[in-house]
Structure formats: C-alpha cells, structure tokens
Symmetry: C2
Amino acid sequence: MRFDAITIKDIATALGLSKSTVSRALRDSHEISPETKKLIRAYAEEHNYRPNPIALSLKEKRSRSIGIVVCEIANSFFSQVINGIESIAYDRGYNVIISQTHESFEREMIGLNYLSSRSVDGLLISVSAETKNFDHLKSLQNKGLPIVFFDRVANDIKTHKVTVDNFTGSYNATTHLIENGFARIASISLSQHSFITQGRLNGYKKALSDHHIPIDEDLIRYCAHGGLFYEELEKEMNALFMLKQRPDAIFASSDKITMGVLRYFKSNGIRVPNDIAVVGFSNSETTDLLQPSLTVVKQPAFEMGKIATEMLINIMEANRAVKVFENRVLPAELVVRDSSVKRTVELLNN
Amino acid sequence: MRFDAITIKDIATALGLSKSTVSRALRDSHEISPETKKLIRAYAEEHNYRPNPIALSLKEKRSRSIGIVVCEIANSFFSQVINGIESIAYDRGYNVIISQTHESFEREMIGLNYLSSRSVDGLLISVSAETKNFDHLKSLQNKGLPIVFFDRVANDIKTHKVTVDNFTGSYNATTHLIENGFARIASISLSQHSFITQGRLNGYKKALSDHHIPIDEDLIRYCAHGGLFYEELEKEMNALFMLKQRPDAIFASSDKITMGVLRYFKSNGIRVPNDIAVVGFSNSETTDLLQPSLTVVKQPAFEMGKIATEMLINIMEANRAVKVFENRVLPAELVVRDSSVKRTVELLNN
DNA sequence: TTGTAAGCGTTATCAG
DNA sequence: CTGATAACGCTTACAA
C-alpha cells in the first residue's frame, strides 16, 4: 500500500483492459465474463492488490471508521469499553480512532475537530469532566454526524445513550455501608454538573434518607477535574478530615477518585477500614489485591462498549434518519470485599 | 466536514473565481493579490472551510498519521508510552491510530494490515508475545514504511529502536533481593524468544553468578502469552511451588505477570514477603497501594514514547533514505518497597 | 461484455 | 495575478 502499491490502473494496463472492467471484476459484478474475472483476479491476487481506502473514502464520502472520545485510555473502565467497541466495530467492518481528552474541555474540542475533519462516520463519546456545554456536539450532530453517548452523557442531546444504573449502584453501595454499621458516610465524585455525578449522588442520598440518616452537605465533595490531579482530590479530602465530625466511611464515585482516596489514606496513615471504610466505583483489575481488598461498584464496561457501537452503527447504516432514540441502562455490580466491613481482631494479622 | 461540508469549489463558484485561485489564496501563495486573498479568506472563515484531509491524503500519498501497535492499551506501561507518542506526534502535525494485538500474532498481522492499508506514514510497534517471526514487518519496511521499535524489538530488522536497559534493571532487582537475604530466586517472564526476556533473564543470571549463587533452571519459567491468561501463569507458578526446594523470592518480568503472581499468592494464601519476596517490572500507578506495597522496576514509558516518535518522524521526513540507525537504551528505575524486604515484627500489624 | 468519461477535493503545471 | 487542466485511485452512469 505504499511506494509501490499496485492500483486498478496498473492491472488494467498490464492486462490490456480498462479500469472499469478491472474494478467491476474485482467487485464481482455480474456484467463481467467469468474468464475475464478469473484473469483479473488471478493477476490481482498474484500482485497482492489492495484497494486504496483513501480513494474509496473520497469517493464514497465515508471512511468506515468510528471516532472514540474518552478521558484516558489508561483508565481501566475506558480501556475495557474500548475493547468492547472494537469487538463489534471490526466485525462490522469499521475501524476506530481514539482521542483522549485528559478531562480537558479544550482537548475534547481539539480531538473532536480532528475526528470530524478526519471524516469519521460516527462518534462514540464519554465527555470530559470539564464539559458543561454541549453546543459543539450538537453542531456536529446537526451537520449529520451520528453520535452515541456512553457513561458520561449529554442529557439534552437527542440520540442513543448507554449508561450504567448509577443511582442503583450508589444506592446499593451506600446501603451496604449503612448495614455494616457506618453512618457518617462521605461522598466524593466528579464535577457537580456531570451526568454521572447526578445519578450517583442521588442514589447515595436516597440510601441515607431511606435509613433515616440526615444528609450532611459538608460530607459531599466534588473534583472538577475528575481527580486527575491528586492535589485536587487531596484538597477535598483534607476538608473532609478537618470537620469536627469526621466521616467514618467514604463513597468514591469514579475509578481515578477511588485510587486517589486510597492514596490519601495511605500517605496520611489513615487505616482502612479501621479508621474509615471505603467503597468506590472501579473497574480496575487489581482492586482485589489492594490493602485491604477494595469493595467496588463495577460497571459492565465491555458490554457498554458493545452496545454503544451497535447502536451507533445502526444509526450510521439506517436508510432514513433515526428519530426515536434508546436510553439503555445497564446494571452495576457491587463486589463486597474488606474495605467496607469492620474488621474483627482475627483479621488484623492478615 | 460532513454532509454539508464546504469545499474549495463551493467557494470558487460563490465568489466567481476559479478553484486554483481559491486554493492558492488559502495557502497564502504570493501570486494572489492581497484583495482577492482577503475576500477568499473572509468567505472561507465565515463558512468555516476546512480542507478535506482525505482528498489531501490521496493527492499527497500520505496521511499524516502514525500507526501504533501494542499488546494492550489497558496495560499501564503501554498507555503511558502512547501518551508520550501523542505528545510529540500532535505537535508535529501527526495523528495516531492504535491497534491492539492482545498478544496474538494473528491479531498483530490483521492490525498491521489495516494500518498499512490505511496508509499510515510510519509505524511504532512493540511486537506481541507470540511474535517470533518478523518477515511481515520486514516486508512492510521493504515497501517503504518507516518503522521504529520500542520495548519489544525485532533484533534482526535494521531501524531505530528504543528499549529500556533490561539487563541492568533485572540485575539491580535481583541484586536487591540477594542483598536482602534471598537466595532461591525464581524468574518468570514472557516467552523465551522475546527480546526483553533475553535481556531481563541475562541480568538476573549475572546477578546470581556475581553473588556465587548457582543458576537453577527449574526456577526459570516463561509465559508464552505474556501472562495474558491467568491459567498460563498459574501453571508456571504451580510448577515452581511443587519443587522440593521452593523459591524464597520471585522476580516477575512484566506488568501483567507481576500482577498475576500477586493474585496467585493471594488465592493460595501465600504471604508476601513472609513466605516469598516479590520484585516485578511494572508501570502500574497503584503498586504502592498493594498489599504489601510492591517493589518494582519501573520503565520511563512516557519518555520512551516520545523518543520513539521523534525517531520515527525523523525517518519519515528525511530527504534521503536513512541508513544509520540508533539503538537508544533508557535506564530502568528500581523502586524499593515492602514486598522485597523481610518484615520485622513491628511491621506485621500494618 | 467491455470501454469511456465524469466526479469525489485537492494541488501542480502550464497558459494566458 | 488568474484560470484551465490533469492527476491522485476508485466507482458508476452511459455508450458501444
């Protein structure tokens, strides 16, 4: 496909045929005689002919590629989603191009610009923690770009969406803490305006009120940059630990934040779960190896990627404009481990 | 850039000029009068004109994109490398397309096929654990595709390479274990033929022999698939623990394998470092939070990505064929934590 | 059944 | 200073 790439034209001249004949033969058109076909295909095979996808894109005005926008591929949740996306996309003949925002709105814009200029045929996006305004996405959609949101969605854009049941996930996690004897439960999450924060916070609050525990706004903290910078998280944690009444448990609502919380405890000599219990959203594959093993709310990330991609391809390949959109909500799973259960003396030595 | 994308032709007809004039004005050619330029640029600006990169690629026979092949983006080491790659690539006006092998030779071939057919202008690759034969890469290179290897390189392909000093990294890790009183040190690494296994194993062996410890081949194990499947690793670990003389320390030579080893110990109730000490190659950002905190050999992943990309772009943009290649070796850092140091009684309770 | 020509968006060459 | 034309690789009316 490079310097010496063979083209249809080359085949045509070599065989003394026309470009169109060759093109048709290669696409197995019925209007080409079997012998000619055979001849052409043999030659193409022998010379390892590969159609030039760039020329095709130009002609067909589509690239057979899907753009993905996530904050960080280093985040287990997102890398699992990406694997799900790829598993479907490749089967359906699409390739994916990944763009990272690193939780920055500006980077999101740049990435989006690139992807759309690069003529992706569709977009799968989980917006950055900083993103409050969705006009840029609306405008892309208005220009005809099919978009499907996953995880961090834009409420007011009409399209397919795949999310996890943030409310129930948090509700269960919080309830679990309450049932294990914790009552001053703090919450630390992404930026306040974020879609997932809303759901997760509501689940947390509902669990508290269902158990007649008053909601203390001092215990509810946010990280505007998703805890991508440790300092951001540290500030919030410090605030929490300066309270006259310290929390006895903490519910962390994203992978990055959960790890930051543990790091904070470690560097400040705060022991889990003795001094404070922890439950966090996380899809990391090593949470069971942590000290102590971590109770997590786990999302079906791979599944989410698959579903989002199927939805997207459905829009892309639809003959008429899709008007009715689906809002798919997947269950989150609570995995109970040691970080959220009061230790008995026996366990101390392990 | 989609359905309603404005083109040079549109501008030309709207302004009653020719395509060439518009094209030239947009590229700020000196042969266009200031007024015409102004007019055209104003119109282009107003209508948000963006050159179509696909048309450009077709014309220029290059896509301004770089292909990346790694085993898994979920692996911290590789996601850090990718961030390094992006940091340079975007600055120099290149975009990146990522392909994952999941340690499979077949997938590597498929990905490579895609990337080359997609006309990437250059390739950055760390081969899969299964890859023993490099003919496919040689042939791509012969077709004119610039390639730079990082981390897992192909020895017999002549091009730039960036690796870490695997030998010294392992030597230091092993020496550290020896100096801390361990003598039956096992090694578990990627497939035997892999470039990095060779270096890491040699460092391990040299450290042993420098300290007059005999090399016991029973203690040297390999994971042909890089420990991507836990069962693979479990088998090797079982073999190790079936020995009459069990190892008292283990040196794990990749991120995935290191985590697998810890998981093995955890599920078999083997305590670290009491029952066995552990040092492993890892770039994971949570190794300090593990139980116990993990002593690691850490690679300058981001740096490696940056350097590899600079090298690649140098080849791609060179006016004459590059004949002299560089083999850059970066230092690995040993981070000593608890998993490799015999515990005193005081430490037991934390 | 096969060939010719136009077009996708762009730039380069050559005229004017 | 500006315009017409060809070319990149491919598909597809339309002609033959």
